[in-house]
């Protein structure tokens, strides 16, 4: 007879198992309401919360399609570039989440003073209201660019090391690259690619990677339209193409679309139609670089109705002067 006691092998104490779980590094409380409260006041999250936010979004966004279907009414926004207080002004103009549905077309970070706070707020809103806000990937949502244009430096200064920047970049890798509104308006950050003829081919791209320096995934985020161009011209930005009305109309007709909506380029009034209103540029960073004096806009689509709302930079008001952080170059 087999001694039945031998079959009961204790692997660990039952009480210890429960205690250990609460200390496991990946198990953190997710508190979107608290995080939104902090983020709305231009405060960034403690590191562990920032990592938890990113990890959760990665899990969720990995399941999203490259092109996200959105139904109207929806408000479309262009580049933000770390202008946090102007983002708050945008919400005043366009309406608050979740009462208003939004598509942001990328470039949340770099250049402006509050990249970290800006992208933190947008990510918290995405976490809490995934059906009311869509965040597309812009060319600045990449390691190669955000290492140079400020987001990395800002995370370094605020957290003291690069770990949080690393996690944000992992989220950037899985942000969708397009939004399809009412199956008739396509939103992307930059523009078209000669390698993309159909929305289906957009769907088939492997987007979960660093933005490559050429190819269709690169082009979608880097290209620009131009009235003086017929077909495709290599962009002088160093990535992407410059494309014209002919290829835009071809793309729209092939895919039964009425409008291509994008940001990526500063426009003086915040909004600009091109190609007989077949293409729209939306720009949402007012007084860009604090010198351009431009207006900013959001673009509202409700069925067949389209309208634009404009806003300007927030007045200085009372903002705390930051501590002076001397860069290592000057030591």
């Amino acid at each position: 007879m087999i001694d039945t006691n031998l079959l009961r092998v204790t692997v660990c104490d039952e009480g210890e198992l429960e205690k250990s779980t609460t200390h496991f590094i990946g198990s953190r409380k997710i508190e979107p309401e608290q995080w939104i409260t902090w983020a709305s006041e231009c405060k960034y999250l403690p590191e562990s919360d920032a990592v938890a936010l990113c990890a959760t979004l990665i899990d969720r966004l990995s399941l999203e399609a490259n092109v996200v279907p959105v139904s109207s009414p929806v408000t479309i926004c262009g580049d933000i570039h770390g202008q946090f207080y102007d983002l708050l002004e945008l919400f005043k103009t366009g309406g608050t989440v979740p009462n208003t549905k939004y598509v942001f077309m990328g470039d949340y970070v770099d250049r402006g003073h509050y990249s970290l706070e800006t992208v933190t707020l947008l990510f918290c809103l995405l976490l809490k209201y995934p059906n009311q806000i869509t965040l597309l990937r812009g060319n600045h949502e990449s390691r190669r660019i955000s290492n140079v244009y400020g987001f990395y430096d800002e995370c370094q200064n605020k957290y003291g090391h690069g770990n949080v920047h690393k996690w944000f970049c992992k989220v950037f890798d899985v942000l969708p690259i397009g939004a399809l509104i009412d199956e008739s308006v396509l939103c992307v950050h930059g523009g078209l690619s000669p390698d993309i003829r159909t929305i289906d081919s957009l769907m088939l791209l492997d987007r979960a990677q660093e933005v490559p320096n050429k190819g269709p995934l690169c082009d979608i985020m880097w290209s620009d339209p131009d009235d003086d161009v017929e077909d495709w011209v290599i962009s002088q930005r160093g990535a992407g193409f410059v494309f014209g009305a002919k290829v835009t109309e071809e793309f729209l007709m092939n895919n039964d679309l009425s409008l291509l909506c994008r940001s990526h380029q500063l426009v003086d009034e915040g909004f600009k139609y091109m190609f007989n209103e077949k293409l729209a540029t939306v720009w949402s960073a007012p007084n860009y670089c604090y010198r351009c004096g431009n207006a900013a806009a959001v673009f509202e689509i409700d069925g067949n109705n389209r309208s634009t709302k404009y806003f300007n930079a927030v007045p200085d008001g009372s903002r705390e002067k930051p501590d002076r952080v001397v860069a290592p170059y000057f030591l």
């Binding site: 770099d110 370094q156 670089c289 010198r291 002067k321 930051p322 001397v326 860069a327």
Partner: protein
């Protein structure tokens, strides 16, 4: 000079792996040495100081004046058709490209006219990009490279260094500011608040050298608008800060956060040396900026024959060479308004090391060949 075969300069930095041969190129070494010579020539010198200008220098300045007149004469285009920058800039650029060979030929001595094929592109690409109607530190670098080439050709000598900075380069800055404001040029590749300025870098280097030894102006002084306004004519640095104050809106500590930070540096000598390190780190070693650089026989991509005097590692057969001590500290310090302090870690050394490892992994034991000569 030995007889040279001049050719139109072309882009050699096509991807991040080309950064390493660029670091060790003749162009990099000689350009930095050139900037240091210019810098040393203006230590403690006011912009308004008397200095002897040769006829050649005066002709060069007149040539730049001519560009400014063109900018004024070309009518602006109607705003409604444009995205942001005024498309009339493209007319200016067309005229610049068309007239540049003759302009430079009329100013430069006969014996260097053979080199015009190599010099003209640096000149035409000094004033901005016509497609995007923008301007950035890469365009500024092209003008400095032009001056470097002219000195290498013997058109200017090292006796002209002071004049190159405070008369010719200064005039170039004024032309560029005029273009920037008249045609509403967009900042090219701007790092926004993380950069010294949206448009320029070099005047902050030279301008900080000018202020070395100043008794009345310390780095903290340029936070006060009236001091900047009063002394803008004495230093390119203060002149640039004055231009920023005139053209930017919002709080200074926000729109010019790097300048805000640098004002805490105790003296100008340290500001000056820091500016050089920052120029290397943020302009010369950043692919998005240097991918547009053009190389020829004068500004040569060939590997330098001299071991670097800097602390940078020399190339080695070892795929993982030990890193030399950093030129600057690993840590920055915060100067708090309150009592608390904290350390901030630098990333540039790690990034640089990573890049060398990356390069070694990609091209183990490969030596980059010199660019193909024309048949």
């Amino acid at each position: 000079m030995a007889e040279n075969s001049y050719k139109p300069p072309e882009k050699m930095i096509k991807n991040v792996f080309d950064l390493n041969p660029w670091y060790f190129s003749k162009a990099y070494e000689e350009y930095l040495a050139f900037l240091h010579r210019l810098n040393d020539s203006v230590v403690g010198v006011h912009t308004t100081a008397d200095m002897r200008c040769t006829d050649l220098v005066i002709s060069f300045i007149d040539m730049l004046d001519k560009l400014e007149k063109w900018a004024e004469e070309i009518p602006l285009e109607d705003v409604s058709e444009q995205r942001f920058g005024n498309k009339a800039y493209r007319k200016f650029y067309e005229k610049l490209c068309k007239e540049s060979p003759d302009l430079l030929a009329s100013v430069l001595p006969e014996n260097v006219h053979d080199a015009l094929v190599e010099l003209v592109p640096y000149f035409t690409e000094s004033f901005g990009n016509a497609t995007r109607i923008d301007y950035g530190s890469g365009h500024e670098a092209n003008f400095l490279i032009l001056l470097f080439c002219l000195q290498k050709l013997g058109v200017f000598t090292e006796n002209d260094d002071k004049v190159l900075v405070l008369r010719i380069f200064n005039k170039y800055l004024r032309v560029c500011r005029h273009l920037q404001t008249r045609f509403k040029m967009e900042p090219a590749g701007s790092r926004g608040v993380h950069a010294i300025d949206d448009f320029q870098f070099a005047p902050f280097i030279f301008g900080s050298a000018q202020l070395i030894g100043s008794k009345s102006i310390v780095p903290d002084s340029y936070l006060k608008k009236n001091i900047v306004e009063t002394h803008a004519h004495t230093s390119l640095f203060l002149d640039c800060v004055n231009f920023i104050n005139q053209t930017k809106t919002g709080p200074f500590h926000e729109h010019s956060n790097q300048l805000w930070n640098i004002s805490a540096v105790p003296h100008w000598k340290k500001v000056n040396s820091g500016m050089f390190k920052m120029y290397e780190g943020e302009v010369l070693k950043k692919f998005p900026v240097v991918q547009h650089m053009m190389f020829g026989s004068l500004f040569s991509f060939d590997r330098s024959e001299h071991p670097r005097e800097s602390m940078e590692d020399a190339p080695s057969q070892d795929p993982m060479p030990p890193r030399a001590p950093a030129q600057h500290g690993m840590f920055a310090f915060k100067i708090p308004s309150a009592a608390n302090t904290s350390t901030v870690h630098s990333s540039s050394v790690v990034e640089s090391g990573d890049l060398r490892r990356l390069h070694s992994e990609k091209h183990p034991n490969e030596h980059c060949p010199p660019p193909m000569a024309d048949a």
